[in-house]
Symmetry: C2
Amino acid sequence: MPAISTTTPAAAPRVPDGGSASRQHTLRERNLRLVAAAVFEATAPPSRADVAAASGLTRATVSTLVDRLVAGGLVAELPPVAAQRAGRPAVPLVPAGRSVVGLGLEVNVDYLGVRALDLVGDVVAERVETGSLHDSDPREVLARLRALAAEAIAEVEAAGMRVAGARLALPGLVDARGARLEVAPNLGWSSLEPVPELDLRAGDGRALDVEVANEAKLAALAELAGDVPPSFLYVSGDVGVGAGIVVDRQLFLGERGWNGEIGHVVVDPSGPRCSCGASGCLEQYAGKEVLLRGSGLPTSAPVDAVVDLLRAGDVAALDTVRRGGRALGAALATFVNLVDVSTIVLGGAYVELYGWVGHVVAGVVEERALAAPFAPVDVRPAAAGKHAALTGGAREVLRSVVADPARWV
Amino acid sequence: MPAISTTTPAAAPRVPDGGSASRQHTLRERNLRLVAAAVFEATAPPSRADVAAASGLTRATVSTLVDRLVAGGLVAELPPVAAQRAGRPAVPLVPAGRSVVGLGLEVNVDYLGVRALDLVGDVVAERVETGSLHDSDPREVLARLRALAAEAIAEVEAAGMRVAGARLALPGLVDARGARLEVAPNLGWSSLEPVPELDLRAGDGRALDVEVANEAKLAALAELAGDVPPSFLYVSGDVGVGAGIVVDRQLFLGERGWNGEIGHVVVDPSGPRCSCGASGCLEQYAGKEVLLRGSGLPTSAPVDAVVDLLRAGDVAALDTVRRGGRALGAALATFVNLVDVSTIVLGGAYVELYGWVGHVVAGVVEERALAAPFAPVDVRPAAAGKHAALTGGAREVLRSVVADPARWV
């Protein structure tokens, strides 16, 4: 996995009206950001001279700031490379591994977990527990998550790493501030501020920065580590079906962060009743439990069990998954017509099922998306692997570190 | 109507790496932009001193730049107001009326037209021709539009005004660059670059800047002149049904500008066949011609005729419009769940029909939008009046003038 980058363009820093001391301070922070960005966004490890060229700063300024980033554990130096011309050999600069880490946390309907990523993008600790969390008690579940996270934190701190903060992924409507869960229907949770309840702390007792986000949106951001176009729709297929809209490598959040609820697109108003009160929602065709049940499996079975049946040519499984794929295609065609994105990334359970749903989805979208005749829609499986929201959450923490390195060095 | 403002935040200007002369030049242009913004965004007419305070520039610089904007016809001076303290009386500055104008052009399924707006927001010329343009010849129609525009241009130029450019609204998929129409199904137009065909010129033969845009999107922007929240969905009900997504007073365009195609949200897959090839699209329930036909009227009748029938309690009209309203509500609930916007503005034919469809739409949206239980969705009629895309287009031209005044003074 490539290193964390800061390609999300930051707003131009405003110079405050304060005294010249505070202006100096702000300028130093801005320059530190520029230098960090030059190292973290480079396609090949840059030298100090390369960073000076990329940032427009003098070599002396760059050297001081690079030294600070190296001392602070954000940037590492590779062995010097012999110079092509006379002079000192260049020292290639890279993101520092096993130094600062971000935590991704998640509570979903059938698992909870934590994943710690370092600035290189390596997983340096992970804990995942499976089991149904339908209609669970948030206090109890968040206490279990705190215990898992504490193990991961102890593990990385014992190895000399620092935890920069955490993102908690939840399968529901989360506000854009990242503080409040309005409702997570499949968990049975509502009107909750999970951060104080979670009360996550570093080994020395310091409270860690935690923000909450929708799981499909964090999973979408995990894709940015791979080879994905700058704009795409990410669909997370789990018990619920959620989506994240990425335009120019940025999450589009709508007015309050509550968008992407593709699971409740009505595919057929005469279809089965949904937990949301409507009838014929996508979740009733393409949600994980519906696919398991339709295949004659218990809802606690893993998706692999459906795949086994599909491989064996089981008619019920084939019919159920095909029907789910058609419904997903119809909902996605609507999504494409309303939002206009030309790449669809199928994540969560749809990754394992891709061989059976991919072409069905692509066919329906091609038929229904108005722009498809002159600009085909690309449908592909997600690349970020299992529990992608954990990776996306950890990456978001690290992105904020690189975007404002002065807080960490 | 309030004056044109530049509340759309412009990207921070990049200082080029060129020589200090070009840097000086860029700095002057930037300062001119700041001064224009301070006048056009003020809630009350500011004095030069107010502009200096708002822009952070010195009073001498501001005075020079204001003089330039006044001489160039972008800003006007009101009679001086006696100063509260000793000193020269303050001269309030306002956008200049009847000086620089923007043109909104439109070709829709049953009319074509042009509207000229000045910087105060006044309509200073207008031509609208009605008649069916279903499956029309683009060359012929654009020639008619050119003739109408030429009349309007001659009229405003005869009154001493200057035309800054034009925006052409079309009911179809237009690329984000504003050059190419991919398809306008109800016009029967496709794969077209209308700007060279239109070949719009000022009276002195100078070619005018013209950009093409989707009509619902320009109509959405027209709402920004009124008392509308910063984020909303605008739905334009005509023969087709289109939408514009405005978030923080900015159009959200998706990846290529082809979003908002709400007319082709499938409301019921067992519904009537649509021109797009799918079945049960919103247009087949809530498009203008469907509402006219269902009310027993010819498709060439005006929407007023439906309103007359509704007032008289005609059962067919009441049923048809209620059914259309329910379908519109269902499609909008999907839109709200996918995009997250809490205000819905019903435009086009839905303004006249609002008394009959408004509460129906609001009821369905309240039932189906996941966020509605804790954050009600506001459904309201559009305020920008008839042929709003003409107004929105003209405003866009003027916004670009105020955002880059150096080109015009």
